[in-house]
């Protein structure tokens, strides 16, 4: 069992809470109820890491994973035109649908089963609205520090047909691989599992860590019990063991480099 503490200041490996032994597997636990909250009427946001007005020096990032916002957007409402640069921005709809427009002339809608990635690079402007006038939308908004700064911006989205009881890859650094691709050595997988299914996830790249977020249900990961919307980061390991809970379970795994803010420059 991982116990939450207030250690780990000035640690660029991960931020917040935990840990267990100095060598071997290490983990950081973020219970759902401990996340930052923002309530704007049209937007309800639960923030695993510090974001906007939520500032907690012990909750800054897990490796290059800088933002994990669990957002609910009222019908017809959304994020007006705003800029981004030098960030890999991933959206995963959980219910409803979102309509996206950007300064690269993309207009698209995404809904559950889709994943959207935007490499902001030298800079883009975009909007993100709930597509429906009567149905709320919820989605995960995820930001990763880029591998290289100042790349040419790009947009990508894919629909992933779900196969039960396996972790399906939805994001990678390779344009020829399954799912969307981004400017970072990161791999995302999503799995929907039946009661008490056990799965082992093997990390793709040595030195990476993996952050598990329980979208639905409960699970036990490396012996740590997790509830809905809890997050668990693991590093110094080559694999994690995931056991689904007694009900339907949906889990997002985000494998990311564990060094943050050592971003290479791209010279054009």
């Amino acid at each position: 069992m991982v116990k939450e503490t207030s250690a780990q200041k000035n640690n660029n490996i991960q931020s917040a809470s935990t840990t267990i032994p100095a060598t071997g597997l290490q983990m950081v636990l973020h219970k759902a109820a401990t996340r930052g909250k923002a309530s704007h009427g049209w937007l309800e946001s639960n923030q695993t890491f510090s974001f906007a007005d939520y500032y907690n020096p012990e909750r800054m990032h897990f490796g290059v994973l800088r933002v994990l916002n669990d957002d609910w957007v009222a019908p017809g409402k959304g994020f007006g035109r705003h800029p981004h640069d030098n960030m890999e921005i991933i959206s995963i709809p959980l219910e409803g649908a979102l309509e996206h427009t950007d300064s690269m002339n993309n207009t698209a809608a995404i809904q559950k089963g889709d994943i959207q990635a935007m490499s902001a690079g030298t800079g883009v402007f975009h909007t993100e609205y709930n597509k429906h006038a009567t149905i709320p939308a919820s989605f995960l908004q995820i930001w990763l520090f880029p591998k290289e700064k100042n790349i040419t911006p790009r947009y990508d989205q894919r629909n992933i047909t779900r196969i039960p009881n396996v972790f399906q890859q939805v994001l990678s650094p390779d344009k020829l691989d399954e799912g969307v691709w981004i400017n970072q050595d990161a791999w995302f997988h999503i799995g929907s599992f039946d009661k008490e299914t056990t799965t082992v996830y093997s990390l793709k790249k040595p030195g990476n860590g993996v952050y598990a977020f329980i979208i639905k249900g409960t699970a036990v990961i490396n012996g740590q019990e997790l509830g809905e919307r809890d997050g668990l980061g693991s590093w110094n390991t080559g694999e994690i063991t995931v056991k689904a809970g007694i009900g339907d379970t949906e889990i997002l795994l985000m494998e990311v480099p564990m060094t943050a803010q050592e971003v290479n420059q791209v010279d054009h």
Binding site: S50, F51, A52, D53, Y55, P57, M60, R66, V67, H82, P83, H84, D85, N86, M87, A120, G121, T122, G123, V124, F125, W143, F145, N150, Q261, V263, Q265, D267, H268
Partner: protein, 107 residues
Amino acid sequence: MKIEMLAIGRNEEILQTLVRLINKNEQWNGVGAGSDEAAMRLFDEVRPSIILLSNGIDAVSEEKLRRYFAGRHPAVSIIQHYGGGSGLLTNEILMTLDANNRALEEG
């Protein structure tokens, strides 16, 4: 007394947004520069305590600017701003101010 900040970035619209967001805080005063020359001129005029490096600054410019700023005011905090908007801006500035305060306390 307000904390002076200089934001530098090549995308003018993003830069304007960044300066507007900085100035929303009553304790902060931000100015923006789109070119290296403007950045160095504003640095000498404003004497900022925090510099935010935003989008599009290549490695050569970044090195040149860092050397210029550090040569004139070694204690200036130069930070990379990521994300381009309001999401991380306040966090980045507060982290820098915390670190500066800790450094002061530790002498």
